[in-house]
Symmetry: C2
Subunit: 223 residues, 2 copies
């Protein structure tokens, strides 16, 4: 099994995360690095979605991934083994989210001069990560079919701050009471501009759409 | 559609949650009320599991439910409609967990003199709720099959503080790479004493075991 770099993230010392996040975005713009913040519940398929997406992008742009978890390094290893790209694990030491300074600690451990797209896989949590701007260019989230279509009603902030909502595990739709139309309606109630992309990360269905959106975003950012 | 009482929970003023939680447990013991704190990720099936469990218990003991969510009252209404028992909605106003004082605000709105078992359905979150003792007699959690068997590795605290781990949605096991044996091994790594109960809340399979455990617990508490 591959080994990956594991970074123990320290608590932030900055009082104003908003300012810090804006500063980080400016630095990334200067360096030509696009940062995506990917959020979801535990087990919605963030890592599998990333593997499929990265394998569609890695010949076109240079991608690196930071896997944030309270513990374990299984995700960073999975990404490295399945895609061959630079992948590091961030340990939050019990903390339920990442802010801009914590994200910066991760970025400092990537070789940014070789990176066009850096992806932060945030801690699996629909509540707290939504409250902290990580300094990312865009926020994306995954909602998986087994979680149910009512989640935008229950976790309003998360859905309101995400530019893209990926609906994963559409292959198991027949076994769950999931109404995609209703879900899209609830998402747009929270954020009328949110892009909704149904996919199945396991089979790859729909992933092209997400990959293309990300590619366009990175190109626009680097112009 | 039924209407339910909605309580807007206020932030706690108590500095020491541990002491406050112990005090709440003592008060509940005196009143003969057993409090269960039920936790999980969003969409793991807490509400459906509760409906099935309550319908097995409500002729034997008096049950009341507090549904905690950041927003919406769909869960409290669902419980009331499907079981007929007392069900109230707690709004946390963006807060990601409940502590003992916040739980007390909910309990104050239940008719405790008519309650043997009060169930708190905590905010859907595998991280923060684990850090706060709610004053409950026991902690239980639900892990659903689509979330994956590696969750005890990634969310160690949650699994270490739970007395019971209910594995839900076992009916869809054939469609997911979920290894129940490995999952049980990982759970016991975090908490060797944790009881693991596989169920399917949708069909009711296995729910008898969970209901019986809860019934025994309530009886022992009231002795």
């Amino acid at each position: 099994m591959d080994e990956v770099k594991v970074i123990e993230i320290k608590k932030s010392i900055f009082a104003d995360n908003e300012i810090d996040a804006d500063n980080l975005r400016k630095e990334l713009k200067e360096k030509g690095v696009y940062l995506l913040n990917l959020m979801s519940s535990p087990g919605s398929g963030k890592t599998t979605t990333l593997i499929q997406t990265i394998n569609r992008l890695k010949d076109k742009i240079r991608v690196a991934v930071m896997e944030a978890d309270i513990d374990s390094d299984v995700d960073a290893i999975k990404i490295k083994e399945a895609t061959g790209i630079e992948s590091i694990q961030l340990h939050t030491g019990g903390m339920c989210h990442l802010d801009a300074e914590m994200t910066r600690q991760g970025l400092d451990n990537l070789t940014l001069q070789n990176t066009d797209l850096a992806i932060l896989e945030n801690v699996g949590n629909l509540v707290c990560p939504a409250e902290f701007d990580t300094g990312s260019c865009r926020n994306a989230m995954i909602l998986s079919v087994p979680e149910g279509h009512d989640k935008p009603l229950k976790y309003p902030l998360m859905f309101s701050i995400c530019d893209v909502v990926v609906i994963n595990k559409i292959d198991v739709m027949p076994y769950f009471d999931f109404d995609l139309e209703k879900c899209t309606e609830y998402i747009h109630l929270r954020n009328p501009k949110a892009k909704v992309i149904p996919i199945c990360a396991k089979t790859g269905e729909g992933v092209d759409v997400f990959a293309q959106w990300l590619l366009d975003e990175v190109k626009a950012w680097k112009e």
